[in-house]
């Protein structure tokens, strides 16, 4: 029984440069989310290494790993994962509580982050009072609040209609281009990936099957913009 190890990700070797926008593609169960969790420091590889900024996440302590998630990584999820009992402002403030940002600075930072995603009027609403698109925008604001260099998105448009999905993706691209953030996005929609990512990585059964530059990046966006 012990030998019957399920290898969710096996022998994947991937290098992402600073400021890149990479899409991880594959059908469900292909291991793309597992790769993302490894990069996020939520999971540890049983063997091998995940090196971010010259630090091997596999060798970090749990404490250091949480600090890495706090300061280096921002994450958005398919199901938004906002805390239901907190208002948007409180949700966005939460990472700053863990990062021990001074109380006096927080309010303006929260306001700024929510204004960036166009939710300054919804600050004191709870997630359940908002549409999916608004919730995902709030999640983006939360992901950015501690100024991470790496944005990880796990099917960010999976629960959204195509119009709001486009809205979110435009924001992600904006962060990539204007703030110089490195983006790694997991999706099963090839069209979406082709429209925004600079690089497409395909996984099947935990193995990397292809890694190619996206030559048509940008075109899709202009087309979509016209819609």
């Amino acid at each position: 029984m012990g030998e019957n190890v399920i290898r969710a990700v096996d022998g994947v070797s991937l290098q992402v440069g600073c400021g890149e926008f990479v899409a991880l593609l594959g059908s469900s169960g292909s291991g793309k989310s597992s790769v993302l969790n490894l990069i996020a420091g939520l999971d540890r590889p049983t063997s091998g290494s995940v090196v971010v900024h010259d630090r091997d996440l596999a060798k970090l302590s749990r404490e250091d790993l949480s600090r890495y998630r706090l300061h280096t990584v921002g994450m958005v999820f398919q199901s938004f994962n906002l805390i239901a009992s907190m208002t948007l402002a409180e949700n966005v403030e939460l990472p700053m509580r863990f990062a021990e940002v001074e109380r006096g600075e927080r309010d303006s930072l929260v306001h700024e982050a929510l204004a960036r995603v166009g939710l300054q009027d919804r600050m004191n609403h709870r997630p359940s009072e908002l549409s999916g698109g608004e919730q995902q925008r709030a999640a983006l604001a939360r992901a950015l609040i501690n100024r991470p260099q790496l944005l990880l998105a796990d099917e960010p448009t999976g629960n959204l209609d195509s119009r709001t999905g486009t809205e979110i993706m435009n924001m992600v691209r904006e962060f990539n281009q204007q703030l110089g953030m490195t983006v790694v996005m997991v999706t099963h929609e090839r069209a979406l990936a082709e429209r925004y990512a600079q690089r497409l990585v395909f996984l099947t059964d935990g193995k990397l099957v292809s890694d190619e530059a996206n030559l048509i990046v940008g075109e899709g966006a202009t087309e979509q913009g016209r819609l």
């Binding site: 706090l70 863990f98 109380r103």
Partner: protein
């Protein structure tokens, strides 16, 4: 995470499931209340007992006797100091010396003698004792009918209830305790008693035993250096005491009391005079025993030691008081254990509530970890919630316990009043108990949070977030 943030998040989490957390907090309150109630009952009873006993004068009194006194020679409890044969006699300079010891309030000679008192021409034989004016604060004179002596030299007496019964020709009925002292006192107060006593007189210049004593009073001992004269003194009854001020003395207790200075001035023949006959030529009185009043019970031991060093035997009832204190300590422990049982139930309640909260907030914990909360942050958050419930429950519990105490105190006093006893305050919540109870509740709650907090901290965020 900083403390204010921790507190804020904990409070908002507690508010989220207000019903469950309130019920848990009430559970803690009841536990703390029962603990406080039990302990304050124990403390109150102890205070009541020691207040009563302190007033009785038993615990701050040291009785000093000379080692020459044969009664004490076979005690064998203290053999330090000079041998009985050459030890000092208990005379006036010694009394003054004792009185000047630190912590000593006063040292007065025990003057007591059996003599005849005539009331309405009927003789009554009884023990008479002298009381210092400080005895006024004695518990026994709290419920005195009439009053205490007007001065140290006043020819007045306070008599004990049983003697009053005897004077009035009433048979004491042991079956019925509740003799009405007021009824006894009414016909006696202000009446006169005639005391007949034997006065010891210094010998006249001539060494011979002159025939100057009245018949019947002459002790006529061969070689006696003093003579004894029979005297009479008229005394006014000013008070009738309900309680027995000398209950500790057992069979030698007196039933009639005189002011001390008056008694001293009478030079009544004392039993010791016979023993000290060889030195009785001295003008200075020799006392069979001296009572020493100490400022507080804790000062009794050092005073006793100092007097023993002077070469006298001492006796105090401190040992008895120690065993009483021990009894109350044991009582406190038992009451505390019963009180703690309710808190133990509350402990399980907290564990249950927090474990339920983990299941319910599994996803939330996963989210917090995904956005950067450390294991420690999550653990501390659960601890903060447990601690907040503990402090809140502790405060409410102390208030509740205090209220329960007040109600019981009130109820009991109504009962006591109906039984015509004076009201008593046997319920005490000292400030340290308040602090202790809240702190204890806080610590118990933290202990209850130990397991849930650890479990929440170890939660795997990937697993938690996969839960949809």
């Amino acid at each position: 995470m900083k403390l204010p943030d921790l507190g804020e998040l904990a409070v908002r989490n507690l508010r989220e499931s207000i019903l469950r957390n309130s019920l848990t907090t009430i559970g803690i309150s009841v536990g703390v209340a029962s603990l406080v109630a039990m302990l304050s009952l124990g403390i109150g009873l102890q205070q009541l007992a020691s207040r009563r006993l302190m007033k009785s004068g038993l615990f701050d009194t040291v009785v000093v006797t000379s080692r020459r006194d044969l009664r004490n020679s076979n005690r064998g409890e203290d053999r330090s100091g000079p041998a009985p044969g050459e030890s000092r006699i208990l005379d006036e300079p010694t009394r003054l010396e004792i009185e000047h010891l630190p912590n000593v309030l006063e040292a007065y000679p025990d003057i007591r003698f059996i003599t005849e008192l005539r009331f309405e021409d009927k003789p009554h034989l009884t023990m008479v004792a002298a009381l210092p004016s400080s005895a006024q604060s004695n518990d026994a004179f709290e419920a005195v009918q009439g009053r205490f002596f007007s001065s140290e030299m006043a020819p007045e007496v306070v008599i004990q209830k049983t003697f009053a019964e005897e004077l009035l020709g009433k048979a004491p009925n042991p079956g019925l305790d509740e003799t009405n002292v007021a009824a006894l006192a009414a016909p006696l107060l202000g009446k006169q008693l005639t005391m007949r006593y034997a006065q010891r007189e210094a010998p006249p210049a001539a060494p011979s035993s002159a025939e100057n004593s009245t018949p019947g009073g002459d002790q006529g001992l061969a070689g006696a250096a003093y003579s004894v004269v029979s005297r009479e003194l008229k005394l006014k009854i000013v008070g009738v005491a309900d309680l027995d001020p000398e209950s500790m003395r057992g069979p030698t207790r007196a039933r009639v009391f005189l002011p001390l200075k008056l008694a001293e001035s009478l030079h009544v023949m004392q039993p010791t005079d016979l023993r000290e006959i060889s030195r009785a030529a001295s003008d200075q009185p020799v006392y069979s025993s001296v009572s020493v009043r100490v400022k507080n019970p804790s000062g009794v031991q050092p005073v006793e030691d100092a007097i023993k060093k002077m070469g006298f035997n001492t006796f105090s009832i401190l040992d008895a008081s120690r065993s009483i204190q021990q009894f109350f300590k044991v009582l406190d422990v038992f009451l505390g254990i019963f009180g703690s049982l309710a808190l133990a139930v509350a402990f399980i309640g907290i564990v249950n509530t927090l474990v339920m909260a983990i299941l319910e907030r599994r996803r939330e914990i996963g989210i917090m970890k995904a956005i950067g909360a450390s294991d420690g942050d999550v653990k501390r958050l659960f601890f903060a919630e447990a601690g907040a419930m503990g402090i809140l429950g502790g405060i409410v519990g102390v208030a509740l316990g205090w209220a329960i105490g007040q109600v019981i105190n009130l109820g009991t006093n109504i009962y006591l009043k109906r039984q015509s006893f004076p009201p008593e305050h046997f319920w005490a919540v000292p400030w340290w108990l308040v602090v202790f109870a809240v702190l204890f509740s806080f610590l118990v709650s933290l202990a209850a949070g130990l397991y849930p907090a650890g479990r929440a901290a170890r939660l795997d965020p990937v697993q938690a977030l996969r839960y949809e």
